[in-house]
Amino acid sequence: MQSKSSFRDPSGFIFIQKDGIYRQINNNYKMHYDHLMNSGLYSTLIEQGLLIPHEEVNSSIATQHNDLYKVIKPQVIPFISYPYEWSFNQLKDAALLTLGIQKIALEYGMTLKDSSAYNVQFYNGKPVFIDTLSFELYNEGNPWVGYRQFCQHFFAPLALMSKSDIRLNQLLRVYLDGIPVDLASNLLSFKTYFNWSILAHIHLHAKSQKRYGNKNINTEKINNRMKKEYLIALIDSLESSIKKLHWEPKNTEWADYYNDTNYTENGVQHKKQIVEQFLAKVNPKTVWDIGGNVGIFSRLASDKGIPTICFDIDPAAVDKNYLEVKKRNEKNLLPLLLDVTNPSPNIGWENEERESLLSRCRSPVDMVFALALIHHLVISNNIPFDKISSFFGKISKYLLIEFVPKEDSQVQRLLSTRKDVFPQYTRDHFERVFSTNFEIVESQKIADSQRVLYLMLNHNFALS
């Protein structure tokens, strides 16, 4: 079956078989693929860990034999994430990876024919380029075809996140081919006109598009004008401009987040101990930590070599977590941005091009953490217990969930600004409702608090 997200590029496409993921290469890409493999570019990129490795397989496996040149089997990325689920530094690193690859490609007489952020995935704690068919032979004099796309997919969102508002990365969810530069130009403040790189790649870019957008241009003439040294200088300047873009959670609404907990040191240690015990009991192959903040509890799993995804709604927490992953060179933890009350939907062509969170959860995850989350869902978002239980029933085999009772100061804080319309927010009712989807395996009270940790097993897996 052809992958629903792989149909735009005529050079080939991804198809999925029972035993894995394959990529068909069409005849029109032969010359480019052969150069990629024979020039030493492929091996250089693989040695540096920048490109996903693949092996060539017997092409009899192909599903469409017209125009077939070869079939390759790329290494599988366990979880596909999207740019609107990445934090500032994740998107920045993906941008720098793209530019770095473009520079190396030029040394080997090739260039990137597109620069979509969807060509990058996070694997083993690092961004890696996954589109083997993005390379084409470079003709001296040609400008970079992917420049517009690079500005839309990377430069514009990073500039908006850095200079306007961190939440503007969510525009990537609406604009699948990146944020149009004229929109970015409108959203950026007047001050950014004095920043050379933003002036050049966003404001002047938008004006140039407006001016030449509907005009017939002699492309033959343009295609001879960009000397190689200009192109390299452009890529270098884009690289240094991206490196100069920063975002710090300081002085923002997210600033106080990290100091805002009400556990005693003893309570935190005890909570960690219980999570460790439950982990040992379940011995999961994968863990998802929903609302995992900076990943303190995710690391109890990932440090044991368990592939773990830590989702959080707070861009500051996700970014802090990612920087920690980089610093500690962690391979098993993937921090991602997610609003669990409105998870990533199915979008793009026929609503199938980019998958929703639930569609990417092919089968329930071995173990899901929902720590200090339930009160946010019920009290702040008015989501009843049965809806929460049903959601976790879809995504988890084992559920490790923390119940935070009404007496808890955090719940009191949430209730302080609103009417308490939650008479059923009790431990008894919580247990009763969750029992429709789960069997309660064990529960333990956390020291120095009213909170309780539950280990639950999904009824669908109770007998296996």
Binding site: R8, S11, H32, K113, P143, Q209, I222, M226, K227, E229
Partner: protein, 57 residues
């Protein structure tokens, strides 16, 4: 290979405004690189002269 021109795969629209702009920006960046290099060489030469002088003294 050098004089042979290859088929442009061009499956995405590069945008004529984006193409024209990048040629201008590439040109400016190349000039900037040239001056940066020039300046760092001058600094190097001046630095060497000074270190010579101090070692002579």
């Amino acid at each position: 290979m050098k004089n042979k021109r290859h088929l442009f795969l061009l499956y995405i629209d590069p945008g004529s405004g984006s193409l024209i702009l990048q040629i201008v920006l590439g040109f400016i960046a190349a000039i900037a690189t040239f001056f940066k290099l020039f300046w760092s060489r001058i600094k190097m030469i001046v630095g060497k002269l000074f270190s010579k002088k101090t070692s002579d003294e």
